[in-house]
């Protein structure tokens, strides 16, 4: 049994209007080959769920900048000025959560919980319209779990069962997102035979992963390599 498939087979799962959850933090750990595939396929009207909107041409930022996203559930959009612009002009709906609450809502979705109780944001406008409960006299907000039709993650190594290992701070939201997808696609920079990953070191057990595709590596320039990548006047890289 192998879960290894091609990029095209993975892209069949990602269609107009779907809800897409993605790993990554500032683009680091967002699967580059899948993002490029989604971009080239022309998928639009996406609802995306993830930590941030990347930089204009890095990570999920590329889809946001190109206007493929209808709604984003996130904690931060500051590094992608196009996200702010689309929010302002009303062409993209933005829902903000505190970063840790977002991570835990995604984790809850991934571990079969209905939601979480959290006191972060109590006493602020984040309370508005939210259910709350008191436990031992302390107030908590009820935050429902998040799941998505498709989840995409970037691993450094995968095996045919879908066991995943990540790369340093590229781990970030990836293990959480991998669990929360109704269908999870992992892009791996290296695919190794079954038995080659030390069971003690596996971060995401393959049971959470439905498909593994080989990655072609990062295809964007990082912000420190290309300062213009962060600016709103920069031009998209040629493909």
């Amino acid at each position: 049994m192998t879960k290894i498939r091609t990029l095209d087979e993975a892209l069949e799962r990602i269609t107009d209007g779907c809800t897409l959850m993605y790993g990554g933090f500032g683009g680091i750990g967002t699967p580059p080959t899948l993002i490029e595939g989604i971009f080239d396929k022309g998928v639009k009207d996406l609802t995306i769920i993830g930590n941030d909107t990347g930089f204009p041409w890095i990570g999920i930022g590329r889809l946001v900048t190109a206007g493929r996203v209808r709604k984003v559930v996130t904690s931060h959009i500051g590094s992608n000025p196009y996200a702010g612009q689309k929010m302002e002009e009303g062409s993209m709906e933005v829902v903000f959560y505190p970063q840790g609450t977002l991570a835990e809502k995604i984790r809850a979705g991934g571990v079969g919980l209905g939601g979480i109780l959290v006191d972060v944001g109590v006493g602020t406008m984040l309370e508005e319209g939210k259910e709350s409960v008191f436990i031992s006299g302390h107030k908590y907000l009820v935050e429902p779990a998040l799941t998505a039709e498709v989840a995409i993650v970037h691993a450094s190594k995968a095996d045919p069962f879908g066991n995943l290992v990540f790369d340093k701070s590229g781990r970030n939201f990836n293990p959480l997102v991998a669990m929360a997808g109704q269908f999870t696609i992992a892009e791996a920079d290296e695919i190794v035979p079954i038995g080659q990953l030390d069971p003690e070191s596996i971060v995401t057990p393959g049971i959470f992963v439905d498909m593994v595709i080989p990655g072609k590596g990062v295809n964007w320039e990082w912000v420190w390599e290309k300062p213009a990548a962060t600016g709103s006047r920069s031009v998209p890289p040629a493909n």
Binding site: I77, G100, F173, L176, V218, W222, W224, E225
Partner: protein, 236 residues
């Protein structure tokens, strides 16, 4: 704010670091605090993207695209560092494992309420990890300009902007002063050169408690008599 002023604020914030602390630095001036760690003080830096033990910025050419800080820029790690997912990173924060955080601010109230994420009607960058850090870190140090672009005090009686967290700030460091939030109120502790106590009071909406001695930071203070004259001045 000029580079000298930013450095001076960051240097002053770094003097709050104590040996053995676990510290999270926000984006902007707070990031510069790492450049001014006092000799003999060893702290562990925490990052929301899943690093405990983040180190210095790597040399040019030695960056690793998969080893970055929460702002997306390359870092290194020190011996004993660990990687983990962002849920664990925030578990550490909510659980009270972060000894000190340094954050930027739009407004702070005299009770220590912090507003630093949204101006209604304007484009917002989002919340990021600010709410967890402000609410849960054991010590919250805020770095900011004393007044906004319109010359209005950012040190308020009550915050006008939506809050990040209530009664969370312990110390406010601005280009004009260092103020401590206490049960008694906001105490003026230090004044930055070339300002006087009077200057600080005039530019502060909050009620300041002024008790001697007040330290002066950043070179010789030219007119101590003038600064003392501000003791009884009412806030504007």
């Amino acid at each position: 704010m000029g580079e000298t002023s930013r450095d001076r604020i960051a240097e002053r914030a770094a003097r709050e670091l104590r040996d053995g602390m676990v510290v999270n630095l926000g984006i902007g001036i707070p990031t510069k605090v790492a450049d001014f760690i006092p000799a003999g003080v060893h702290v562990t830096f925490h990052a929301e993207n899943g690093i405990l033990g983040a180190g210095a910025t790597p040399l040019s050419g030695e960056e690793d695209g998969f080893l970055c800080n929460a702002g997306g820029y390359p870092v290194t790690v020190v011996d004993g560092a660990s990687y983990f997912d962002s849920a664990i990173a925030f578990a550490m924060i909510r659980r009270g494992c972060i000894d000190m955080t340094v954050l930027g601010a739009l407004e702070v109230s005299e009770r220590g309420d912090l507003a630093n994420w949204i101006v209604p009607g304007k484009r917002a960058a989002g919340i990021g990890g600010a709410m967890e850090l402000a609410q849960k870190a054991r010590k919250v140090v805020v770095l900011m300009n004393h007044v906004n672009r319109d010359g209005e005090s950012k040190v308020r009686k009550h915050c006008q902007l939506p809050l990040t967290a209530r009664e969370c700030v312990d110390l406010i460091i601005t280009d004009m002063a260092v103020m401590e939030v206490t049960g008694q109120g906001l105490i003026l502790r230090e004044v930055m050169s070339p300002y006087s106590v009077e200057d600080v009071v005039r530019n502060t909406e909050a009620d300041l408690i002024i008790t001697e001695p007040i330290a002066y930071i950043g070179g010789e203070h030219l007119d101590p008599e003038k600064s003392n004259s501000g003791v009884d001045a009412a806030p504007s």
